[in-house]
Symmetry: C2
Subunit: 220 residues, 2 copies
């Protein structure tokens, strides 16, 4: 059986996965880059964004990098919410928006974008975006088909992850708790009382100050 | 300078320090004892509650116990909210309630109980409860006077701790994040956006699954 996996989903100590006031300029709202500042120094991230071969080998290689490096291993497709694809709401006014990532998106595999407003499939570099109005189970079925024998990554945002957790479709949930208090934004944990009963939980603190939580779905 | 210290304040991963539905029978509401289950096995707790000398030396002695053992070190007085003293609300109907702790409360020092409904000082065993209607700064001044040259412990509950944090009176804040999702209750972190700017933060994960956060006030 392939798995549905969440990686590197960062929340503040008070439970917000995104700040308030998201826009084209501020995709994380008033949180800015603070929720991901543990990620940027890692060797995995540096290598992902390096524009030359010299970038390989730079960056930190501790536990934060260990988790970062697991992100893409054995992944054949991603599911994401529309908000992760772009800041637009409602019907597409035109189809010129091709995502945040330029002409070489980092996915290199099919991406199912959940939206009530479908549009034609869009190939950008090695990534094909499939815009579909589907519930969690149907979205997972489509992504699993696209992934072949590999796992599916649930890429967020927090509202989408919450919906899949409520539908009990998530097998691996990696949460990174960042020691800041955002005070406002989108809460990850709402409506998930008792989630721990369905998972084993492993906890690792990093010298960066973040704490990695790995929730592994118990056998059904 | 003596310090105002918070110890062993447990919150769920979704930020609740107390469950919903507090009563005489259920002081932590639907959370039951789950927020403190990391604490009960510790050598410090076993010794505190042991009814014979054999209890000394039993219990765990890892990082959870290390934190538990710091709770009473150098403490000369406590401040607590009325809800920690008892489940009553409004004017005291009678003064027969002497706290949850029987005839030997574990404080062994003066305790300032914050309440809008004052009543005469109450000595129980080695502990004297002083019922006062005071704001955070005045309560701290009174407790500091009572503590002599020692520190003051802020004993909770969460609403009281939040008020003292908002008034920037807390020097040492030890929070224990328990990997459960309570979903409802009293949130600790509301209204504390940016708290981390005033503190250094140290994070330690325990094999019990809890994470210890120590916030130390930066020099003013």
């Amino acid at each position: 059986m392939t798995k549905l996996r969440v990686h590197n989903l960062a929340v503040s100590l008070d439970g917000f996965a995104t700040g308030e006031g998201q826009s084209l300029e501020t995709p994380f709202g008033h949180a800015g880059h603070r929720l991901m500042s543990w990620f940027f120094p890692t060797r995995s991230f540096v290598a992902m964004t390096g524009h030359d071969d010299e970038a390989v080998g730079r960056g930190t290689s501790g536990v934060d990098d260990a988790f970062a490096s697991a992100t893409n291993q054995g992944i054949g497709a991603e599911i994401m919410g529309r908000r992760k694809f772009g800041p637009q709401q409602g019907p597409w006014e035109d189809e010129s928006w091709r995502g945040w990532w330029g002409e070489e998106p980092p996915f290199h595999s099919p991406v199912v974008v959940l939206t009530h407003h479908e549009r034609p499939d869009l190939a950008v570099g090695e990534t094909t975006f499939l815009f579909r109005s589907l519930g969690p189970a149907d979205a997972l079925a489509l992504a699993t088909e696209q992934a072949g024998a590999l796992d599916v990554r649930l890429g967020g945002g927090p509202t989408v992850v919450r919906e899949f957790l409520q539908a009990d479709l998530v097998d691996h949930l990696h949460i990174v708790v960042v020691p800041i208090l955002l005070g406002r934004g989108v809460r990850l944990w709402d409506g998930l009382e008792g989630l721990e009963d369905r998972f084993s939980v492993e906890v690792t603190a990093s010298t960066s100050g973040v704490v990695h939580y790995v929730f592994t779905r118990l056998p059904r």
